[in-house]
């Protein structure tokens, strides 16, 4: 058993116990917020330029912020893992990447729907869209790597470095519109006061609800990663 990579895992950390306890209340909060979110989006005023399709604003950027958060948390998990070699931080990184890729995928689905309605086409090789696609591929590759490479410190170390390097794409993704100012079709990044009257509350509710959804899914997924590891450890002990 000593040569088994699973044998070195320290399980049931305070971080994981705290996450498991927090999931229930966060789930209930999500249900309440989701109801308020739907209400504010339905009640939001119709944009005078774009019409009703502008309401995608209340879901598309919040999904992007969730994706950013997931990938930043993947990098944080990687940094702490490399510094402390505590396996729960590797599991923290895996859970963050998975929820991040979910949000990134949905951002890349809602964006083209909005684009089709306003630009008349689903996709264009605009700098923001291109870097977003690259970001999506980078973290999809991270998850593919994790699913095929199996457990062990070597995989965890490589994935940590990969996750840290990958996060450098986020500032590029955010500021690429300003870098390619006149060549970008994508709207500018939102600034304070740039929303029309009555649009602030649904945008706030969208961000709040999808942030809490992110936290809830992360807490569930983080616990599952620990439970999977313990199940694998039990199986390994039974076989030895």
């Amino acid at each position: 058993l000593a040569s088994d990579p699973l044998a070195s895992y320290r399980l049931d950390s305070a971080l994981e116990r705290g996450a498991a306890r927090a999931a229930g209340p966060v789930g209930w909060l999500l249900l309440v917020l989701a109801a308020g979110y739907v209400w504010t989006v339905v009640q939001a005023p119709i944009d005078s330029v774009q019409g009703v399709i502008q309401k995608i604003l209340y879901v598309h950027p919040p999904l992007a912020y969730g994706a950013y958060l997931g990938f930043v948390m993947t990098a944080i998990g990687g940094i702490v893992y490399l510094a402390q070699e505590r396996e729960e931080w590797d599991r923290f990184a895996i859970a963050s990447a998975e929820v991040g890729i979910l949000f990134c995928t949905l951002m890349m689905v809602t964006g083209p729907i909005w684009g089709k309605g306003t630009w008349g086409r689903w996709w264009t090789w605009d700098p923001r869209l291109t870097v977003t696609l690259l970001l999506w591929f980078v973290y999809l590759a991270y998850l593919v790597l994790r699913s095929f490479a199996g457990p062990g410190a070597r995989t965890a170390r490589f994935a940590a470095v990969y996750g840290i390097v990958g996060v450098l794409l986020i500032p590029l993704n955010y500021y690429v519109i300003e870098i390619f100012d006149d060549r970008s079709l994508h709207p500018d990044n939102l600034e304070s006061g740039s929303l029309g009257e009555g649009m602030g509350l649904p945008f706030l509710m969208g961000n709040l609800t999808l942030f809490v959804a992110f936290v809830y899914f992360f807490l569930l997924r983080f616990e599952v990663e620990g439970l999977r590891m313990r199940a694998a450890l039990r199986l390994s002990e039974e076989r030895s």
Binding site: L63, L106, T110, I113, A213, L227, R228
Partner: protein, 44 residues
């Protein structure tokens, strides 16, 4: 309107489907772990 409905429906269904899947896996793994724990308690 159909584009707006599509965007919100895809998001809600995907998040709901993902959340349900992870929640069900967590429940199954918790049950399995609990049953292992009671086996050990019963049989030493």
């Amino acid at each position: 309107v159909s584009y707006v409905i599509a965007a919100y429906a895809v998001t809600a269904l995907s998040l709901g489907f993902y959340g349900l899947n992870v929640w069900r896996e967590r429940s199954a793994l918790r049950r399995e772990e609990a049953s292992r724990g009671s086996d050990i308690a019963n049989h030493g």
